[in-house]
């Protein structure tokens, strides 16, 4: 009786690191386009779809904002994921940074003072986001309480806190719309003409990438965070307290996400609209996707962020072009990502076929 089995083996020499992502993405688009055509019973025009994607990919200026924000959030979450601490609470941390920054901009009295306002928005925003992460980090670090459900549930609590603030004390007084007043223009990040991005956001993205890269590769804290993810016992034995490492990774992660929160407020939204649960840009969740797609490698985070933001834009284009509704677009995006996630491993692995007799 002959049987065939597939065995995955590690390549002795890995492929160049850009080959697999590129091929995977292309393959994903091809398969998804065919699938889309089938799902819609031949009613979509593949050309329109491909053109939409092409437009999204070829116009980085329109992706800039989402790309940069997703990169920041992805990097932030990666710091905790590396320690096997799964921060699903990006949304909450994002909103806590927004709460802090809004307060600085609207109610602290420094909202209109150049430079100081932005610095304070960032600092206080980052600190408050870190504080929100700390609430989940302490019980995880010292009592071993699973951070995944805690951070996830805390997102909802954060939404409701935002709702409470905006609905009551911070409500915009004129028309009583469910939102805050607009923050002073002096506190807005400076738009780069012709793009969706802002100067500060781009600077922050670069700083975050470089800073976290340095932290993870050149400091003992970064190394300890890495080791935490594979064997916490070792940390104890070499004399590093694993609890502190857990807490630091989660708090750093929250703080980085907070940077994205402040940038979103100051560069894009300029006010908070509620209900938060419905108005959120969902970057805390999409960032999880980015972090996983990057396979937890810092260098791949921007690649993943680019793919995701391009797909989101392409999705909008497809809808505008009338080639598919929101749900069809989701099918399309899901398929591309799925194929990408599977085929991207072939940088390092190959499949061997074994015939048994």
């Amino acid at each position: 009786m002959a049987s065939i089995s597939l065995v995955v083996v590690k390549r002795v020499k890995p492929l160049p690191s850009w080959v697999a992502p590129l091929l995977s993405f292309t393959l994903g688009i091809a398969v998804a386009t065919v699938l889309l055509w089938i799902v819609t019973l031949g009613r979509t025009d593949p050309i329109v779809v491909l053109a939409s994607i092409g437009r999204a990919l070829a116009m980085p200026q329109l992706l800039l904002k989402n790309f940069a924000l997703l990169t920041i959030v992805g990097i932030g979450l990666l710091v905790s994921f590396k320690a096997s601490v799964f921060n699903i609470g990006g949304e909450g941390q994002f909103y806590f940074a927004i709460i802090a920054a809004t307060w600085i901009a609207l109610f602290s009295g420094v909202g209109a003072i150049a430079i100081i306002n932005k610095v304070l928005m960032l600092v206080v925003g980052v600190l408050l986001a870190g504080f929100w992460a700390l609430i989940a980090a302490l019980p995880r670090g010292f009592l071993g309480i699973d951070e995944v459900p805690v951070t996830l549930l805390m997102n909802y609590i954060a939404y409701y806190i935002v709702d409470y603030l905006v609905f009551n004390p911070w409500r915009e007084p004129k028309y009583k719309y469910p939102r805050t007043p607009t923050i002073p223009e002096e506190s807005w990040f400076i738009r780069i003409p012709g793009t969706t991005g802002t100067i500060e956001l781009i600077l922050l993205t670069v700083v975050v990438m470089a800073g976290i890269w340095y932290l993870m590769n050149n400091t003992r804290l970064g190394l300890a965070i890495n080791v935490m993810g594979s064997n916490p016992n070792v940390l104890r034995v070499v004399g590093i307290n694993p609890s502190l490492i857990v807490v630091s990774s989660l708090v750093i992660s929250g703080m980085i996400v907070g940077i994205a929160g402040v940038s979103y407020l100051a560069g894009e939204a300029h006010l908070i609209t509620i209900p938060a649960e419905a108005c959120t840009p969902m970057l805390g969740y999409t960032g999880i996707l980015v972090a996983w797609l990057s396979m937890l490698r810092i260098a791949y985070v921007p690649v993943a962020a680019y793919i995701v933001s391009a797909l989101i834009n392409a999705g909008i284009n497809i809808q505008i072009a009338g080639a598919g509704k929101a749900s069809v677009v989701d099918v399309f995006i899901g398929t591309i990502l799925l194929i990408y996630s599977i085929s991207v491993i072939f940088t390092e692995y190959s499949v061997k076929i074994i015939v048994k007799r």
Binding site: L6, V7, V8, V9, K10, V39, P139, L143, G144, I145, D146, V148, P149, V150, L152, L153, M154, Y156, I157, Y160, I161, D163, Y164, F167, N168, I288, L289, A291, W292, L293, M295, L296, K325, A326, S327, V328, V329, D330, V331, F332, I333, G334, T335, L337, L338, Y340, S341, I342, I345, Y349
Partner: protein
């Protein structure tokens, strides 16, 4: 009689959350990180709705097909993550998008048909008949059954071994792929059942997006009870109860947002309490949950 009222009102939502969270627990005990849960839940809700429309509210077919579609998606997740060294998180979230989309593709035409025929779907659970008691019996029965399987049988040991350390499990003779497929079929069947209960017993209506977020709640119920089949009953009940009655709580004079947040706060509190009991060691996250599984890479 107020108690009967409360228990029967809470029953459908509790059943939905509990079944889905129980399924999720089994999948994750076998080591597969299931971030597809919300998508799968939403898809199964849509399938149950569509089939109920097309079969004139047949009590069985919608459930069967909904469960089957949940299993189908689950198998993709389980197979790829166990056969290839891929990222569980990326596969799970991609499937989530895919499922969100499919749910619209499948549900919208049925909704259009419903608009024409006025066909109603589902079965309300009334406090008058005692069907609601049955729901509690199902919950408790399944809880004990799965607890028994996980803690007392060879299958349970195989599932836990695959989640703790799949490489070692293989060396001990466990077929990790097969085990995870078994756990996946069982787990995703329960998730599909939970979603059907959500649609057919709880909401009984559908529009695009119905169910989004509720899969995550099932996820949170599962994890905050340490993936323990019996503790999950308590958390699911508390969560469903507070969710259903959050507006009654307003009467106490709390701000509305506080009432909204209460189920979530309670779930966290319950988890802290569980962790203070001797059960603590049983509630740990499986050591290899979500870690890529690659056979040739092992030491010594």
């Amino acid at each position: 009689m107020y108690i009967v009222q409360v228990l029967s009102t809470t029953a459908p939502l509790m059943l939905a959350y509990y079944l889905a969270s129980l399924g999720h627990s089994i999948v994750e005990k076998s080591g597969v990180l299931n971030l597809a849960i919300d998508g799968v839940f939403v898809l199964s809700v849509a399938v149950a709705f569509a089939q109920a429309i097309y079969t004139w509210n047949n009590p069985l077919i919608p459930v069967v097909i909904s469960v089957a579609s949940s299993i189908a998606v689950g198998l993709i997740l389980v197979y790829t993550t166990s056969k290839l060294p891929v990222s569980h998180g990326a596969i799970g979230l991609s499937l989530m998008f895919l499922c969100y989309g499919l749910s619209g593709v499948i549900g919208v035409p049925a909704r259009t048909q419903q608009g024409l025929t006025g066909q109603e779907v589902g079965y309300p659970i009334s406090p008058v008949s005692s069907v609601w008691v049955l729901l509690y019996i199902v919950v408790v029965g399944l809880g004990f059954l799965l607890h028994y399987i996980l803690e007392r049988t060879k299958l349970g040991a195989m599932i836990k071994a695959s989640g703790e350390d799949p490489l070692v499990a293989e060396a001990l003779g466990v077929d990790v792929l097969k085990t995870r497929i078994l756990a996946g079929v069982l787990g995703f069947a329960l998730i599909g059942l939970g979603a059907s209960a959500f649609e057919l017993l709880y909401t009984r209506i559908w529009r695009e997006g119905t169910g989004i977020g509720h899969g995550w709640i099932a996820f949170a119920v599962s994890l905050s009870s340490g993936r323990h089949p019996l503790l999950g009953i308590i958390t699911a009940f508390l969560f469903a109860l507070l969710y259903e009655y959050r507006f009654s709580i307003l009467a106490v004079g709390l701000p509305r947002e506080m009432a909204d947040a209460l189920p979530y706060i309670t779930a966290i509190t319950a988890m802290v309490i569980y962790m203070a009991t001797p059960l603590k060691t049983k509630l740990k996250t499986p050591k290899s949950l979500g870690k890529p599984f690659f056979k040739e890479e092992r030491t010594i």
